[in-house]
Amino acid sequence: MIQLQHVSKQFKRSRADRKKYGTAFDDAVQDVSFHCPKGATLGLIGPNGAGKTTLLRMIAAMMQPTTGTISVAGKSCATHSASIRQQMGFMTTNTQLYEFLTADETVNFYGRINQVDESTLAQRKDELFSLLDIHAFADKRLATLSTGMKQKVNIARTLIHDPKILLLDEPTTGLDVIASRHITDLIQHSKANQRTVIFSTHRFNEVKLLCDDIVVMNHGRLSYHGRFNDFERNTVGATLEEKFIHQLEVQG
């Protein structure tokens, strides 16, 4: 479904950073290759600055790799970015919504931008609002809603066009237990609906609960890619955290 081949991403450093680091470019992602099959849930783990967000943005066709290729369902992200983005639902850390719109208007806006026709939009909105219990506050402006309610609206707007692929960048960071639960429910629901999900996280309980495959990133490089069960079985360490740290140490 999603294929990355020797993907690298370089950013030009600012003048201040050039002096600080001594190099003109920041290698955010270096030579990463992996494949995520259709319907799989892949967890992207790694310390801060490992390149997870950049990698997700490149998969979402929002950024172009400096070298290497990314293809989604056989189509290159470089040449088919708009049609690839239409198949995806993207949610990032602390994504905020438009506070002056209501839940209903927000979901309508994202549905129409994704070119969902009006009758399908109404039907899917109704389904999602029922599934996520949004009906009660659908006409309220988002500024007046709680974090949990907003998170539900965020999920609804991500799923409104029934994306085949979900890309979630640390979706539970900063959320309380209940709001996090909405996200894990979303991933499980997507799994059940044969969606391909790639999500980055720092929470190992989520990895254990949700992931089929994992990719461990460190300093922009791929440190591990494989089945989660194999990682759990074969890596040294008593807990998942220890295994993860061991994996990073192996790479140096």
């Binding site: 950013f11 030009k12 943005r57 979402a60 929002m62 950024m63 172009q64 708009a82 049609s83 983005r85 239409q86 995806m88 993207f90 949610m91 990032t92 850390t93 602390n94 994504t95 905020q96 919504l97 438009y98 002056f100 719109l101 208007e105 806006f109 994202y110 129409r112 931008i113 994704n114 070119q115 402006r141 890309l167």
Partner: protein
């Protein structure tokens, strides 16, 4: 629905629901006319009030100049303080027991009789504005007194004023009354319109660019199947609309105020505004505001998208606004005319053109050059803005 229309609709809806932005957007330009009126009313009222107010004047040696004494005493606005001495004048003016003081020398009568120049000292403290009206009043009285004394002396010498005046200069300003008042009106009005346009653009652009970056809603938009140029286009359309609204609404309220002027507005102010009521002036002014609104909208959007934080964005925008406002003073100070060269200097050309329009001295060719050079400027700014929109390290920063 068309993507650009959807994006514009969303932004317009957000603007309409943001109370603080709406207050700025609607009240700020619409209040310009009434605010100007209020200020004018206040000025007229203050001047009238000052004109009726008692003026406490200390006079030392009043008995040496009887004519001046009768002149001062006949003025009902003056309260004379004759019991002061010269050494006390500064203290009395400082503690406000008197506003002005005159010191008439003991030799005044003999000096006058001997056809010598006698010096009367006038003490006052400049306050500025309407605070100086009492001083002006006394100066007028003294000028009258001086005239009376001179006439008396000329009479004694059996001379006429014409015999003392060898050369008389008559001034003939060839600029028509309309041209003069048009140049005055055209000097300040565009500055007001430009300022409103910049200010409104700044308020809205911050939220639409860097505001969306900070809230990560821009990232969500970029993850949707939208071409970035369309996203930029939609934001530009919204910002251009509000940028054009601000000067047009300001102009409309000012025109309305002068179409139906209240009684208290002095005749010279109404005469000053006459050029603004000519339909062709209003049409050309709006036409000139089109490229300016587009340029300011693009410029502010560009800065907003380029900035990393709202604070950084507002700092850059404020700096730009101050620079543009300072630039606007150039044609006022140096009285630059519109010619082939000045018609190509961005922003300044529209400012000078506005002045020429209100004065009724603009010709077609410079106007066309102004519009064409403004269009070229807009094209250049659009190119830069669309390039910025493609720069990943800018759009995804911080």
């Amino acid at each position: 629905m068309n993507i650009v229309r959807l994006l514009c609709y969303k932004d317009f809806k957000m603007l309409a629901r943001d109370r603080s932005t709406m207050i700025t957007l609607i009240l700020f330009p619409l209040m310009m006319g009434p605010l100007g009126l209020g200020f004018e009313y206040l000025m007229v009222h203050l001047v009238q009030h000052q004109a009726k107010k008692e003026i406490h004047i200390g006079v030392v040696g009043l008995n040496h100049a009887p004519t001046l004494y009768y002149l001062l005493r006949s003025d009902t606005q003056l309260i004379l303080h004759t019991d002061i001495n010269e050494a006390d004048i500064q203290r009395q003016i400082n503690d406000k027991s008197i506003q002005v003081a005159l010191v008439i020398p003991e030799t005044f009568t003999t000096d006058t009789q001997q056809m010598k120049t006698s010096t009367i000292q006038l003490y006052f403290k400049t306050k500025g504005g309407t605070g100086d009206l009492p001083i002006r009043h006394i100066k007028q009285l003294l000028t009258l007194f001086k005239g009376m004394q001179n006439t008396q002396r000329l009479g004694a010498l059996q001379l006429t004023e014409a015999q003392l005046s060898a050369v008389k200069i008559e001034q003939q300003d060839l600029a028509s009354k309309e041209e003069r008042s048009g140049k005055m009106a055209g000097m300040f009005l565009p500055m007001l319109l430009f300022f409103n346009c910049l200010f409104i653009c700044m308020a809205v652009a911050l939220e639409m660019g860097v505001g969306e970056k900070e809230k990560k809603t821009l990232e969500t938009l970029l993850s949707l199947p939208i071409q970035r140029i369309k996203l930029l286009g939609a934001k530009f359309i919204v910002l251009f609309s509000v940028a054009l609204w601000a000067p047009c609404a300001t102009l409309a309220t000012i025109v309305l105020v002068f179409m139906f002027p209240p009684d208290f507005i002095p005749a010279h102010i109404i005469q000053f505004s006459e050029p603004l009521l000519r339909p062709q002036v209003i049409i050309i002014m709006v036409l000139l505001m089109l490229p300016i609104a587009a340029f300011f909208a693009l410029l502010m959007l560009l800065i907003s998208l380029w900035s990393k934080t709202i604070a950084q964005g507002s700092a850059y925008m404020s700096l730009l606004t101050v620079s543009i406002m300072s630039m606007m003073l150039i044609p006022v100070i140096f009285s630059i005319d519109l010619n082939g060269f000045t018609a190509m200097i961005p922003v300044l050309n529209v400012l000078i053109a506005c002045r020429e329009v209100t004065a009724g001295t603009i010709t077609a060719l410079p106007l066309v050059i102004v519009l064409l050079s403004s269009l070229a400027l807009i094209a250049a700014t659009i190119t830069i803005a669309s390039k910025i929109m493609l720069k990943e390290h800018i759009i995804f920063a911080p």
